[in-house]
Symmetry: D2
Subunit: 374 residues, 4 copies
Amino acid sequence: MNSIYDAIIVGGGVIGGSIAFQLAKRGKKVLLLEKDRLASKASSAAAGMLGAQSELDVDQPLFRLATESREMFPELAEELKDTSGIDIELVNKGMFKVALTNDGAAKLKNIIKTQQAAGLEAQWLSTAEARKAEPLLSDELKGAMYIPKDGQVSATRLSLAFTKSAAALGVDIKEFVHVSDLCTKDGAVKGVVTNIGEFSCENVIVASGAWSAFLLEKLGVTLDTYPVKGECFSVLTNSPLLERTIFSDGCYLVPKVGGRIIVGATVKANTFDQKVSLEGISTLMERATQLLPAIKETELEKTWAGIRPQTGDGLPYFGEHPACNGLFIATGHYRNGILLSPITGVLMADMVEKKKKPQWSAFRLDRAIQPLFS
Amino acid sequence: MNSIYDAIIVGGGVIGGSIAFQLAKRGKKVLLLEKDRLASKASSAAAGMLGAQSELDVDQPLFRLATESREMFPELAEELKDTSGIDIELVNKGMFKVALTNDGAAKLKNIIKTQQAAGLEAQWLSTAEARKAEPLLSDELKGAMYIPKDGQVSATRLSLAFTKSAAALGVDIKEFVHVSDLCTKDGAVKGVVTNIGEFSCENVIVASGAWSAFLLEKLGVTLDTYPVKGECFSVLTNSPLLERTIFSDGCYLVPKVGGRIIVGATVKANTFDQKVSLEGISTLMERATQLLPAIKETELEKTWAGIRPQTGDGLPYFGEHPACNGLFIATGHYRNGILLSPITGVLMADMVEKKKKPQWSAFRLDRAIQPLFS
Amino acid sequence: MNSIYDAIIVGGGVIGGSIAFQLAKRGKKVLLLEKDRLASKASSAAAGMLGAQSELDVDQPLFRLATESREMFPELAEELKDTSGIDIELVNKGMFKVALTNDGAAKLKNIIKTQQAAGLEAQWLSTAEARKAEPLLSDELKGAMYIPKDGQVSATRLSLAFTKSAAALGVDIKEFVHVSDLCTKDGAVKGVVTNIGEFSCENVIVASGAWSAFLLEKLGVTLDTYPVKGECFSVLTNSPLLERTIFSDGCYLVPKVGGRIIVGATVKANTFDQKVSLEGISTLMERATQLLPAIKETELEKTWAGIRPQTGDGLPYFGEHPACNGLFIATGHYRNGILLSPITGVLMADMVEKKKKPQWSAFRLDRAIQPLFS
Amino acid sequence: MNSIYDAIIVGGGVIGGSIAFQLAKRGKKVLLLEKDRLASKASSAAAGMLGAQSELDVDQPLFRLATESREMFPELAEELKDTSGIDIELVNKGMFKVALTNDGAAKLKNIIKTQQAAGLEAQWLSTAEARKAEPLLSDELKGAMYIPKDGQVSATRLSLAFTKSAAALGVDIKEFVHVSDLCTKDGAVKGVVTNIGEFSCENVIVASGAWSAFLLEKLGVTLDTYPVKGECFSVLTNSPLLERTIFSDGCYLVPKVGGRIIVGATVKANTFDQKVSLEGISTLMERATQLLPAIKETELEKTWAGIRPQTGDGLPYFGEHPACNGLFIATGHYRNGILLSPITGVLMADMVEKKKKPQWSAFRLDRAIQPLFS
């Protein structure tokens, strides 16, 4: 007979792993189900940028979520290292969001002004100043916004650290399990149906990234989400070319430990096809060379693609289903899954524990499934 | 707007590929949809034995199907080579089904008698005779049944040859497409719903191996099928150790081109977990060494697992759904998918063309879904 | 005690394999030594073009060698398939050497005239005519030279087929063996010294490609050779984009079975570094897209590099060392190792058997090591 | 023109990397040359045990070297993390050296006594006590020696951390460079000859592991060394099976981060063949299962082999060549390369700086090459 779990999490990526970790820390009995291998999809495909200020506008609700999540990383890194032995390779050397045109420079200067007004650190650097810090940057750039706090981590190691820490705290993990349905009774979750049998639980959290829609659709929940493919490549050097992440429209370069640089990412909507196209990689190579000419000499290590969950209004969904007690959803993180994973874990654990967090109402489910209330 | 296909095949493995190839040869407009990559699951995991006489009993309906399918290979090999350029590496050097005990030897002798009575070639060899043909076989064996006609092919190349030949004949192929539902009207198929949109068609053939159940269940069709994992490994030698396939209870050795030997396969029911276990490989290694001591010195190349579709009565399902015109199913090939793929392609193409084949009624769907008729 | 070999071949690539195969056919007792794995370097990195007429000028001595070698492929393909079971995937659909400029077109027309005068098949096609045969070629090309006889093979399978056929004929093969010296007596070879001991023999053939120089230098033989790196990539499609090989200055596209296309190759002299550079791949991608715009949509499969042995005058070296009886050298095949492998095998076997072939004197060693005679 | 290096290190494994790091810290201008890729051979193949007390006898000179080196790891781990960003995954949870027989137990108890007498921490545990700490250990063991200080690291990450830290401190690194000779003048090193030209230097340190002999032999230095192959495999689990390293005769299990366990290692002398044999892996699997029955259920991740440099008397060689000033040698670390890498780096840097360390005279070169003095 199966025991009754406090929560079953569907999805073993960085979001499911973070939720499992937080619930386990609160003493919950948790089962994590993954249809493939842990962290085998978008979570491992990410470059690991923590681009709160570089990717988002200051007046977006997502901005506040992102900066709060970013602040959690230093402490989280230590906690995960202690629990799992895994170093997430957090690098806090900041980011350069560079301008390729004078227009771009003007725009960045405005963003800096807005962010400074909101109390955030950001600073304009001339091309010469930027090249003093990063001498191999192209001298044809038109300056850069320096964001000291937008760091980066190893996405693969973070995802692994979450799930392995969760396992160390007692979470049961099963891979290659396909969840096909919920068991419900009187409008409340009672368990899940899978290809290896049923499991009983009080709560189910769907955190399957771009694949969430398949299960949710089966459950009669239609969120406004769609998959977006991103292609990347990495290069290797013996001596590092960069210390800081370089971010521009259409291309970023994230310097990893050991002289590795990850270059990303293309944007192709509405496909689950994980193939890497010649055109995608070729375009990224051109853009990367424009930013950092010396990258031409580096060794091409590998190429890959990931499928990220985007939503109609660009905001993730966090919430409990209005018509089904105990069914929670956390998806739609798009390009910010790594950055948002720490706060998503805490936020969803709070929801399961019925702790209200009114400040995050922008991400509620009923903006998508309001008809259910009528 | 999408064009209307004569047939949409769901599943890009060896069975789906064979059906696509046969339908294309008959001038049908065909779309092949695969949820992952072509031939990425059981079709590539198979060892490629064509074990009609070694795996099956002469009075089983499957036996006749298997021997007929086996006879199709020589001509098929040429046809696929002409169409796709791919050599399926058909080897027709026969098989030794060996006895490890005197009881086993007696049993094999009986099988030989029965098969000879049925007009099939099979012959008893003493251990000395067997070792004359295969000098590295263990001298502790208790003789062998020699089956001249049970050959073997490269499973991966056969699967690829089917799909690439189909493509060369005009079949459209789409990978990473998830079919979530059928479109029907007045009890007849009109198309399929997928994550990249709807496609119109006259007929749908579900040929997704062990994954067929997920889609069929959604369509309200419950066949008595279940997945069975098989683990394998391969070794490499510079000089070949074997010419013929060696088959025993619990272990077979299939000599491939280039001095490669595939050793298979464990049997683990009711799991989609594609992980290779230490115990599975360790047990196979012991058994292989018992049959062919010299295999100890070979280089271990790789290990893998595949998930095969088994059925309650051990027979595959071929047929049109009784309550849904145009919905065809071909699944449940278990360990014989490679062997049965040629005849399955022809048989299903016949069905789509409404050609009756009464001799194959043992495989009809209604043995499983009879309630639908009441 | 080691037995005495008729010949020891140093190098397990396509050249060493071909020589081993020919010597074994002539009843010689042969040992093949490879410092790494068989065919692990340039032999597997090649695209497999048989570009006798596309790569060479009609009045070069190499041209005659290349065309003779090319003619050997159809019969060789059958022989290797019979002996080893391996299909070398010989494709005889010809090649288009395309012009990117009007100047280039004029040049090609001249080459055609010269080749026709020499009795070879070659034909000018307008862009429209070329696109009738290969509809996806760019319409910005300026016509093409059609060479019906310049086919292609799978380089990896050819290399493997040679060594495995040699093994089937009794050749001993040892991998990961480092030959450090020769044993000689009275100016004649008596054996080789390796890290696993000494082996006695009558003849030694050095066929280690770009690595030949290391051993030869140690033996006091300085040939005018140097390594040239070539980078390649491959793409995958479900429906083939090309039937024929497309060749232009700086880029070729070779359509392989299964919808694969190999794109090559850069040229970087004087390095053994097998790393693939971002710049190399990026440049090839641009050029390939210029020839075949539809390649942009294909899936990038992989990238790799090989190190080819070039010589000062661009001609290979075939011969017996003038001051050391029984020491033979076959190296310097540069980009034509696959194409020249059949004739090299025969030619070197002839030399070992003391059969004179005066027509190939252009490739004699003493053009490089003449001082040895003085 | 090449600049003059203070030191050129031949070999980019864990030993060469450690020496490069130490010399760079002392302000030396260093060039590191590697014939293949950095840390691509034995350094990455190691399990990373720091088995000073488990592998060695207390009265051996190597024992003192090993314990001193082991003590350096905690500080080194921080230093390498600071310099390169790479966490070497040092785990300090101790080791269980287990007894499989009563005789083995008696022997271990004696060792404990000797080590305690020498002031080292070591403790006898009954099987019940050992299983209290490691509940999945077999109950058929006969007790264990607990060594609190024998920890472990990630061998691959340590090797990478050394070379990348060296690079960060200004060391030049070149891969795929073959050193074929020394330049000397008046009995002193002046540079090295490589396939990409000559490089000038004051000192050369040969640290090429099992491959050192090839270069040294060429230089007329014959050390009494030979290669020893070791085969390993790794398994994966979601929940860790072990916390501490388990060591027995013929098999060890090293629990890595993320639920990975490395199992090693076979011992095959006098081969550079890096192939993994069926027999080697099969034997290790049996032994591992005997120690930790639950390992049967784990997923087999991969198998590999490494070639370690052993010496005639089992001791490494550290020293300057008596007849060639500036030619240093550091090789022969056998199974202790990872453990001994920190102290080897310091020791060789001291030698290059002409600092005498009389306590390490047991490792001097002249025990092997004494004839050179006569």
